[in-house]
Symmetry: C2
């Protein structure tokens, strides 16, 4: 694939201004206990405190606010059963436009409730990818709404990149940044921004070994889709997007893996030592770091905690 047009540092700064009043500038936390265990100096960017409980609020807001007035009037649409659905419904509500969210009939009630709470219109479909896509196509055709994909879309990636922008503005000496990778929206945005900010910053993706398509794609130099993912990190089940891969293969240093058992240990460490609530996907970067300590020894490392939407009745400890 020829190099697509990537957003510049200036584009990302504009995105930040565009979405500024709709998102939190999330805090950065540290833990001396975790630093001691890790053997490096870790800064945690807390997107679990973000609006809708995840970094997804950034990309959705950016994509919606960039639409022309004409397109805005017809609304936005997506298929998602996760945080992107709520984030898009919220962004649309702020813009005062309709959001059509195609969700599998099997989606958890709490996810549907979140979307409805932001005024989103839910269109149910059979719980398989083909049904999702054909239903979405139908909705778009009927309403003229603009499809905003969850990660394989440059305006979404540009929005997610604002997270790393804030991170480096607040902690300009970071030598390494880790972000989890599912579809690659957050990792892509982080890698783009970091590359633009300072080419010497190393960006690592962190992925569950039970859904390691980004790892395998990165090594193979081509996209290898994920089949039958099996991991507790339920935010990282999807396959890498096309645009996301193009960024990641250029600007990411490596993809590191963590087993579910390592992820659960890291998650517990964050709950116990930092007293914050995160979702399992969020713990994968710390787990991957702790499984590869030598790479980070003595460095100043940034970890993006991607979200905090976890079913408290199903914590793995």
């Amino acid at each position: 694939m020829q190099k697509p047009q990537f957003p510049s540092l200036n584009d990302i700064r504009h995105a930040r201004v565009r979405i500024k009043s709709f998102i939190h500038r999330t805090p950065i936390l540290t833990s001396s206990a975790i630093n001691e265990i890790a053997g490096c100096e870790i800064y945690f960017k807390c997107e679990n405190f973000q609006k809708v409980g995840a970094f997804k609020a950034r990309g959705a807001a950016n994509a919606v606010m960039k639409l022309s007035d004409e397109d805005k009037a017809k609304g936005v649409a997506t298929h998602s059963s996760g945080n992107h659905a709520a984030a898009l419904a919220r962004a649309a509500q702020i813009a005062g436009i309709p959001a059509y969210i195609v969700m599998p009939s099997s989606a958890p009630k709490i996810k549907k409730k979140a979307v409805k709470g932001y005024g989103g219109e839910i269109i149910e479909c059979e719980p398989n990818l083909q049904a999702r896509e054909t239903t979405l196509e139908k909705v778009v055709k009927e309403t003229g709404a603009t499809f905003i994909p969850p990660y394989d879309f440059m305006d979404v990636i540009e929005g997610q990149a604002t997270c790393a922008l804030e991170f480096l503005e607040d902690e300009p000496d970071l030598e390494i940044i880790l972000a989890p990778v599912g579809g690659g929206g957050l990792l892509g945005g982080t890698a783009l921004l970091s590359h633009e900010w300072d080419e010497d910053i190393e960006v690592y993706g962190a992925e569950p070994s039970g859904a390691d398509d980004a790892y395998r794609s990165f090594k193979a130099g081509k996209i290898i889709p994920q089949t039958k993912p099996n991991t507790i990190a339920d935010g990282l089940l999807t396959s890498l997007g096309v645009l996301n891969f193009e960024i990641i293969r250029r600007y990411v240093k490596d993809i590191l893996l963590a087993t579910d058992s390592q992820t659960i240990d890291a998650m517990r460490l964050i709950y116990e030592r930092m007293k914050i609530v995160i979702e399992p996907s969020c713990a994968v970067p710390l787990a991957a770091l702790l499984a590869n300590k030598a790479l980070f020894k003595g460095k100043k490392v940034g970890i993006i905690l991607s979200g905090g939407n976890v079913d408290l009745g199903k914590l793995p400890f």
Copy 2:
């Protein structure tokens, strides 16, 4: 009881300077979702992020740092199976002096580990109050260590008062402050400071209905000790201290009760909406507020989240 000598605002300011480098100035968080449910504007002072995971770090540090050099050299002692034990061991470690902690043989391993981690010396005893007191007496006699009680001690109360001092410095418009009450160290310190700061600020204690001795004592005008407490709020089982009662009956507006079921609902709300980890005792003030909404309608209310030391394997949801 004749009015004891209470610390002044100036004394509490000095305490804050004394302990400043040993504790965190904890952040204040808000949640628009919780405000909407509560019908008032709530500010949460997050002592769950405090050193040792609880406000107890303040009182213990203040009491230790106020000792004469001669007394310091002989060390400090207490009996406790809770956060005060870890807080005192830590304060002693910082001062470079011994800490003798009498703990019941039945105390949870994790509590013993915390004390040992701060270099405290654990002396085990039978799990009853008499054994704790006689063992402590023996330790104090043998070592010459100074007994630092967990709450019924003015230097400890003065230390806990620094929390409300920071709170009002950061949010000077608070009209009401709520703190949980067990022995009354935190509530006493909060009431003292608030009274000194501005007599118009109303301070409420919040107590589990299954351990409501402070409520009953407050209404009766004399201390009625707690027998057979039965509540999930395991940090609030103890009876009100003597000095604490003297402050509370003078400067606290009222004590509000919350059932365990209300406390669990409030705890879940804080986990889900604020994405932070708190211990059950910590949720009692929000539960009491939600059970008495009319009292707080439209007001600017401060709630002290007292600590975050919870057994994650035993969350009530």
